[in-house]
Symmetry: C2
Subunit: 344 residues, 2 copies
């Protein structure tokens, strides 16, 4: 039974509550802090996109196609589908001589509703470029071009979302290498964008992010790739998520100090490089990001030494005020003592 990590208050009364588990782990695998069951495998979903992007850099594909910060950041993103996101994903594909037609993630209206309305207003329909995973898939396509060798890249890429395809085998191999978890033992499902997702314990996910933040325990190629991706995300945080989004806001504020990424169903992972720690969180109900965001904000507050405006900024995210349609304050989210007791 996982503990309550986040309460939702309306007035002064608890209206809803969110249970969950978290692990804070160093690059040796030592658990520094934890709550709940950190050994039950959970689907990390999009929280591990940075891990999945390591082969894009380590293979040399990013260098070969001249990918810059925005492109490396969006390769790790669950983005809003704003115009800049769709354009960046399209640009990546173009650099590899490809286009939207190779993407196998599916199309959907932008996750950011205002972007969807803007698209509709201009008379357009959404394409796979607006899929929140289009950057990751554009990265897979670039990786595939590298792996294709002398084969026709478009032919080679067909079915790249399937577990047995060379691109997915690279991606699964890096998940296994960084988490140290044997994926043959892992429950397996299909993710929202059609690639396989493997359930991995929080303890192992946090370890992988401690490794990403330090390079310790990674192959030399992965260590260099992780540093490049972290830097790109810190320099182009809008590409990781977008307008108003938690990941973008925190990274705009804290830069390379916190490399974090949300996943569907209440998952969060982060590297805190200066502390050599990785964090992994899963809310039991998984229903959307609100509770996982509060838990991640409270974890960062507890672990990272913050100064000046950064303190108030993070408190605003760990105890966000809820307003109604008239802008009246009606309540707030708040982390429980389990999170507030945390310390580095």
């Amino acid at each position: 039974m996982n503990p309550i990590l986040v309460n939702v208050l309306r007035g002064r009364y608890v209206e809803s509550r969110h249970r969950g588990a978290f692990a804070v782990v160093d690059a040796e695998g030592t658990v520094v802090a934890e709550a709940g069951d950190i050994d039950r495998p959970i689907y990390p979903r999009s929280a591990v996109k940075l891990l999945q992007a390591l082969p894009l850099v380590a293979s040399g594909a990013a260098e070969r196609f001249g990918l810059g910060d925005a492109e490396l950041a969006i390769a790790c993103a669950s983005h809003n589908g704003e115009a800049a996101h769709a354009d960046t994903a399209a640009g990546m594909l173009a650099k590899a001589g490809l286009d939207v037609n190779v993407l196998e993630c599916g199309a959907h209206w932008p996750a950011y509703e205002a972007a969807g309305r803007a698209l509709a207003q201009s008379g357009q329909q959404p394409s796979a470029l607006h899929n929140n995973c289009s950057g990751k898939h554009a990265g897979f396509a670039c990786l595939g071009c590298m792996l294709a060798g002398r084969e026709d890249p478009r032919g080679f890429l067909l079915g790249y979302t399937q577990p047995g395809h060379p691109v997915m085998r690279e991606v699964s191999a890096v998940l296994q290498a960084t988490t140290g978890f044997d994926l043959r033992d892992a429950p397996q499902g299909i993710d929202g964008c059609s690639i396989p997702t493997y359930a991995i314990p929080l303890r192992r996910l946090a370890l992988a992010f401690a490794r990403v933040g330090t390079g310790v325990g990674l192959s030399p190629g992965h260590a260099i790739a992780a540093r490049q991706l972290r830097g790109a995300i810190a320099r182009a945080p809008f590409m990781l998520a977008g307008t108003g989004r938690f990941d973008t806001r925190v990274i705009e504020r804290l830069g390379e100090r916190a490399c974090l990424k949300v996943g569907a169903e209440g998952v969060y992972c982060a590297a805190l490089p200066e502390l050599g720690l990785g964090v992994a969180i899963k809310m039991d109900d998984g229903n959307n990001a609100r509770a996982a965001e509060v838990a991640m904000a409270a974890t960062i507050e507890a672990l990272l030494p913050l100064e000046g405006d950064d303190t108030a900024f993070m408190r605003g995210l760990s105890e966000p005020v809820l307003k109604n349609w008239n802008g009246t304050e009606v309540g707030q989210l708040a982390p429980t003592e389990t999170l507030r007791r945390l310390s580095a």
Copy 2:
């Protein structure tokens, strides 16, 4: 500790889980079935809009202004903000000589994203008519016109969302009368549309809906009003919610057999008139409607004798398939044994 009522599966593995409580009660207050804590007060939010609409009919306002089925149904609604919803709310106000400017619910883009995109495409901005509560507020305004007597109705209506206003006092009085719960003891908050919300135990909410379905325990005026509102909802279920919505789909299928209404934060209430029972559900995490819908569907399946296509239809709602952006089946929601063991 409330039990797990709904599991979310990806592949064959449980990805997320939802705890909650429910009560099934007859009009005498006898608990027929229950799980979890049914005595802790919970904010019912929009699940009690039918109760809040009783004074609109019982006061004679609905008759005086000639409100039809669509208007009575939308007075009980959390609607999608589709064009027909906004038009119906506007029409109600016009019948009372009023317009959108009296509404104090606040404006927001339609809850149904396609309706928001259509609005944007036509170059419009949303008004309070697109607020999912606009029908309820239009009903409050009609009630206020009735209560205003010889006063100028627009002046009288000012501040109608405040607890001390005559309109809200009528609405609170009917909540207290139907649930039998003394609201002076109730935790109080402000709802999304700015009216007060009072926390009430599930046991009492289920009782109120048993009374709504049978008339037993209601004043004669409220009993007649409840029958009229139930009938109107059964004849105009689109107005209660809208395209693709659970409430609309179930009532389109089952008609007056199930008078149900979702509330924010994982709440559901229903009257099952032929059984003389009321149902009230609250999911602990409250994060959106998916788990409460599954719990309500499973409850209806367990309690109502279903035949032919209705059986498969309800099973489709109690065990909904989850598909990804490519339309691939990736998992499902499923009620736990706690719900599947239920019987009438």
